[in-house]
């Protein structure tokens, strides 16, 4: 157990090092000049150079990288060049919004896909199975940025069921209205996950239900429902779990797009703003933070594998 965690931790550090290097250098490839954002396009070259020096941007890239990473390691993510807000503050106020969005969407996705997969797997090629398989196939083909436009047009602008873009309310201020505004973006994120989870779980369940141990369970007189939940679901959920791990970065990216389109002040919204303003430090640190979160979630999922299937040794 400790060896399992230790080995994963070492891998984690290596991965994060690579990501930090990647994030740093990719962002410095971005076109644009932070001094233009801060001083405007008409300032003198002297003033610009002075500002570059002040921000440390005149140093060689590797030195900038080391300074940044040294600060990050000490827990200091730096300050925005433009707003002078500390990046940690930006993250701590924006990240919970992403978290809420993603958790909400995943709860809904599992809430739909698990019962649907169970019902479909009970009668493969039955009416329900064919209907849901076809529907899920169609859903898979709709990209989220189109879905959000359609849903907003339909539910906010025409039907007025959900509030439209720009009406975000913080959870602490009013939980009900907050959930009301978050439902629509969560649905957009949910659709992709639901179809994937449904298809994987359905296929695995059908395979598991053919196994000898299911016949043995039936021969004990156990009810179909009990067999499904107790004997079939867990050994069938490995693909689902693996896909959840692979899916997580796509999910974060999806959340960012949706936030940006609906003006929800999550990390995605902040990140796009920072990129537009060529705010190097914010972009680097937010990117690194997101990478850490994604890696950590995968770390947790790896651990969940060993919980779901005892045969997967924790070594």
């Amino acid at each position: 157990m400790t060896r399992f965690v230790l080995r994963r931790l070492i891998a984690l550090i290596a991965i994060l090092f690579c990501i930090s290097v990647g994030a740093f250098f990719l962002i410095h490839l971005l076109p644009g000049d932070p001094t233009v954002t801060i001083l405007g396009p008409n300032d003198t070259p002297e003033n610009r150079n002075a500002l570059l020096k002040e921000l440390g941007l005149n140093l060689p890239l590797w030195q900038q990288y080391l300074t940044w990473i040294w600060n990050v390691l000490q827990g200091n993510l730096g300050q925005s060049f433009i707003t002078h807000q500390s990046v940690s503050k930006i993250i701590s106020s924006a990240f919970p919004i992403d978290l809420e969005l993603i958790i909400l969407s995943q709860i809904m996705a599992l809430g739909f896909s698990i019962p649907l997969a169970i019902a479909s797997a009970r009668r493969p090629n039955g009416l329900l199975d064919r209907a849901s398989t076809t529907t899920s196939f169609g859903m898979l083909a709709i990209p989220p940025f189109i879905l959000i436009v359609v849903l907003v047009l339909l539910f906010s602008i025409h039907l007025h069921i959900f509030p439209g873009p720009g009406s975000y309310v913080p959870f602490q201020q009013d939980p009900i209205s907050n959930l009301h505004t978050m439902i629509l973006p969560a649905i957009v994120l949910m659709v992709g996950s639901t179809t994937i989870y449904f298809r994987l779980l359905r296929a695995d369940l059908i395979a598991t239900l053919q196994q000898d141990f299911i016949t043995v369970a039936r021969s004990k007189g156990l009810s179909d429902r009990y067999i499904m939940w107790r004997h079939a679901l867990r050994p069938s959920s490995l693909s689902l779990l693996a896909s959840a791990g692979l899916n997580i970065s796509g999910l974060v990216a999806g959340a960012f797009v949706v936030e940006y389109l609906l003006a929800i002040p999550g990390l995605g919204f902040e990140l796009v703003n920072s990129i537009q303003q060529v705010d190097y430090l914010s972009v680097q640190s937010i990117t690194l933070f997101v990478a850490v979160v994604i890696v950590l979630i995968n770390f947790i999922i790896d651990f969940l594998f060993t919980v779901v299937d005892p045969r997967i040794a924790r070594e």
Binding site: V216, D309, R311
Partner: protein
């Protein structure tokens, strides 16, 4: 022995009921396959007395598994045609509702499956796999059921059972898993246990141990057992009666000692000749039965074994021999136009030793 008396208090045995435990009459199980109708079980009839052990032998594909699953009514009912009658303790299994069957399965009638490697759920602890039927059928609470699981593991000869109940199947050897399967099947002291090749996938020394455990527990609980095997040697010493299957039919059925004294079917004799013997050096080649098992979709005309039978006459190729009693022994039935003269065949050491 104390164990046995403890158990009979928990599960009172009503053996005063008259008549056989199981009555199978003209059972037919037909699958619809792309090639046509396949009669996996084709008009099988027999009775099973309480406490009796019936062996069912036959080559691969002769319908042994389908027969035993039909008796339990465990086959998926879609795409399946069944006729005839299976009466178990007065209940007609073929027309029983799923709810009725679920009260019988695991409680009154249970099964030990062929492959212990795939018969246990890999993600559920051993203990739970034993206790779930106990809790369902006997209304024991968690602690009682757990204690019973430990006791059952002791009875099937698993060392340190307190630890084993917390294990997952992959932590056990094949032989131990099959012991666990027996513990599961016997948990609620069923009246009938169907053991479908319970030892085929295990090595020879373990085979004998497993069958001994099964025989011991059977005697303690006065259960009936149907022991399915393709190996006559396995059933020879552990059964009261043997039914020989060929092409979905019973072609010979007799008390075990009688069968080996006076087998009538050339097929039974061929089966004996193809049976490996422990006493034989392992390099002795077995005489495999000439030819191939019949195609169940298109059974040969006449006796299904006739194309492979060296005694076959014209009649054998054209008319199906009925299953009839031997002239000198009413409990010995066979379906053959040219039965063998009664010459004892030496394969058994102590025929019918497990008679109780």
């Amino acid at each position: 022995m104390t164990m046995a008396s403890e158990r009979s208090e928990n599960f009172p045995i009503h053996d005063e009921n008259p008549g056989p435990l199981l009555k199978v009459r003209d059972l037919r199980t037909t699958f619809t396959t792309p090639r046509g109708k396949l009669n996996a079980v084709d008009g099988v009839s027999f009775d099973l007395a309480r406490g009796e052990t019936l062996g069912i032998v036959g080559e691969s594909g002769s319908g042994k598994t389908v027969l035993s699953r039909s008796i339990m009514s465990l086959l998926p009912r879609s795409g399946l045609e069944q006729s005839g009658s299976i009466e178990f303790e007065g209940i007609e299994m073929l027309s029983a509702t799923p709810d009725v069957l679920r009260t019988l399965w695991g409680a009154k009638i249970s099964m030990v499956f062929q492959d212990p490697m795939t018969s246990l759920n890999p993600v559920v602890r051993i203990g739970r796999q034993i206790t779930e039927s106990l809790r369902l059928h006997t209304g024991m609470d968690k602690t009682e059921a757990n204690a019973m699981a430990v006791s059952l593991l002791t009875q099937v000869g698993i060392p340190s059972p307190e630890q084993r109940v917390r294990n997952y199947p992959h932590q056990l050897s094949g032989g131990m898993r099959q012991r666990v399967m027996i513990a599961i099947a016997l948990a609620c002291s069923p009246r009938l246990v169907l053991a479908d090749e319970p030892t085929t996938s295990l090595d020879v020394t373990v085979q004998a141990q497993i069958l001994d455990v099964l025989a011991k527990l059977q005697e303690e609980r006065h259960m009936s057992v149907i022991l399915v095997s393709h190996d006559l040697g396995v059933v020879a010493t552990r059964t009261d009666r043997i039914a020989v299957m060929y092409g979905g039919r019973i072609v010979e059925i007799a008390p075990t000692d009688r069968l080996f004294r006076a087998m009538a079917m050339p097929y039974t004799k061929a089966l004996v000749a193809s049976t490996p013997r422990l006493s034989q050096p392992s390099h002795v080649r077995l005489t495999a039965i000439e030819g191939r098992p019949p195609d169940l979709v298109h059974l040969p005309k006449g006796c299904a074994f006739s194309p492979r039978c060296s005694y076959a006459t014209d009649k054998c190729h054209s008319e199906v021999p009925p299953l009839t009693a031997s002239r000198d022994n009413a409990s010995h039935l066979f379906a053959c136009w040219n039965p063998l003269p009664s010459t004892p065949v030496a394969i058994t050491t102590t025929p019918g030793s497990s008679a109780s």
